[in-house]
């Protein structure tokens, strides 16, 4: 039984890897030189709006200070979502917080990326059976990078940034904001399941061709 399980896991891994490589090939071939240059600049300059919820609000600030100095990678904090490229959601989201997170996310202009920091934003973490917090942030907005840990060290967050930069540079994985637009009905249904109609009006883009 053990062996069967191991081989099952390995098969799954191979399949995931194969599909990932196929995706990578597909997207890479369509990149022109100009797109590559633009992606390089996008990776090299990241404006971050840090949405501090939970303990991540304590772990995030050191990343911007002299000790860890994330600015050397081109990452700087900005005060408003209008100017931001990246949003860090740093921990558990209560329902009340989630509403604001969605609002902030929709105010950011594209291309935009989300980093979910810590176990709570990935699977609920220690709040997995709480009546008042969500478990998986990825169900409500398009998350690009998960940084695991409870709480992750600043080094982990920096590694998350570096991985995200590679991903933007190579453009090999579909960004979260495109998923959010394409599968908007899925995300909106999840949001409405929690809030009913008590949320901001639906985010509608003409080119998605959706009628909500």
């Amino acid at each position: 039984m053990q062996e069967g399980f191991v081989s099952y896991i390995n098969d799954q891994k191979d399949m995931a890897q194969a599909s990932l490589e196929a995706d990578t090939e597909g997207i890479k071939n369509t990149q022109t030189v100009i797109q590559k240059a633009i992606n390089w600049f996008r990776a090299r300059s990241m404006f971050v709006v840090a949405y501090g919820t939970g303990c991540g609000a304590i772990e995030m600030p050191p990343v911007f200070t002299s000790r860890y100095d994330i600015e050397r990678l081109g990452v700087v904090g900005v005060a408003t979502p209008r100017q931001a490229d990246i949003m860090i959601v740093s921990g558990y989201c209560s329902l009340k917080t989630l509403k604001r997170v969605i609002r902030t996310y929709e105010q950011m202009s594209e291309p935009k990326y989300v980093i979910a920091l810590g176990s709570c934003a990935i699977n609920g973490g220690m709040y997995w059976d709480s009546y008042n917090t969500i478990k998986k942030l990825d169900d409500y907005i398009g998350v690009d990078m998960f940084v695991t840990g409870c709480m992750p060290r600043p080094e982990a967050l920096i590694e998350g940034f570096v991985k995200l930069q590679d991903r933007i540079k190579n453009n090999n994985i579909e960004p979260g904001y495109i998923k959010y637009k394409e599968d908007y009905q899925f995300y909106r249904a999840n949001q409405e399941r929690l809030f009913g109609k008590n949320i901001a009006p639906a985010f509608i883009e003409d080119y998605t061709g959706m009628d909500i």
Partner: protein
């Protein structure tokens, strides 16, 4: 003429952003960290030009940054880059110091018009702070500049530059230089006079609703404008530049002075900075005016 203007603008854009990158880098070293690359500001600018703009608050919102940018471009084009030369002079034959001072105020006014059209209270707060501070900044700067005009007997920048062949104005009129330098620090928007866009208080102030291409335009014009201000100070007090190397050295020295002052002093509040500017530099400028 066209090529001349193009080269002037490219130089102003590149040096403006290069100096801004150096500002970030030097400040980082002062803080004891490594800091971003010197070209970081170029990366930011190019990235922002390729970013979407998601907001709209009517046509004035878009016109604001364009008025600001035209103010900055006109300022830089009316200041000759080099001493007694035929190249890199732009429109400076057709205008004088008074025109330059007029164009320098166009930027903040354009900003106020653009920001006024969206309803964000932080933007309005930033603009009120900026315009209040501007009243304080203009007073000593204008008195110092009037002193120079009286001393040189002309309002033409090229002639003021030419009149400094023997002694620079910084030596001949040190009090006027001190007054103008303190206002110049304020015009550069660096600490201790950086109350306009204070991120923790007014959430980047006037730029709060600007994102994407319009933020890129705002940043580019501010880089060009800061180079124009460095250029004006060099022309008025340091005898202008004989060649490009001279220009880079002189502007860089002035810029470095501004950076170090900015790194040493904390931020003043609006009322503190206006109080300070009305009391100390204005008095210094008036005393300097008496010695002209």
């Amino acid at each position: 003429m066209f090529l001349d203007i193009l080269i002037m603008l490219i130089l102003a854009y590149s040096f403006g952003f290069l100096y801004y990158g150096l500002y970030r880098n030097i400040s980082a070293r002062v803080h004891g960290r490594f800091g971003p690359s010197i070209a970081q500001s170029f990366y930011d600018s190019i990235k922002l030009f390729t970013k979407d703009t998601s907001t709209s608050f009517g046509w004035m919102f878009y016109a604001g940054p364009i008025i600001m940018a035209s103010g900055a471009l006109m300022t830089v084009l009316f200041i000759p880059y080099l001493n007694h030369g035929d190249s890199l002079i732009g429109f400076s034959e057709y205008g004088n110091l008074i025109v330059v001072l007029y164009f320098m105020v166009l930027g903040p006014l354009g900003n106020a018009l653009g920001v006024g059209s969206h309803g964000n209270p932080f933007g309005a707060m930033g603009i009120i702070r900026g315009l209040t501070r501007l009243i304080g900044l203009e007073m000593p700067f204008y008195i110092a500049v009037i002193g120079l005009m009286i001393a040189s007997g002309t309002a033409d920048i090229a002639e003021i530059m030419a009149s400094q062949k023997e002694t620079y104005n910084i030596v001949a009129h040190p009090l006027l230089f001190i007054a103008a330098f303190i206002s110049f620090l304020g015009f550069m928007g660096k600490s201790p006079f950086d109350v306009v866009g204070a991120p923790a208080e007014v959430y980047s102030g006037p730029a709060v609703e600007f994102g994407g291409k319009f933020l890129a335009l705002t940043l580019s014009q501010s880089a060009i404008f800061s180079f124009a201000k460095l250029l004006l100070m060099v022309n008025l007090f340091l005898g202008g530049a004989d060649n490009l190397v001279d220009l880079v050295v002189k502007t860089f020295i002035l810029f470095l002075a501004a950076v170090f002052v900015g790194n040493v002093y904390g931020r003043l509040t609006t009322s503190q900075s206006v109080d300070f500017l009305f009391k100390i530099p204005t008095v210094i400028a008036i005393v300097g005016l008496m010695f002209v």
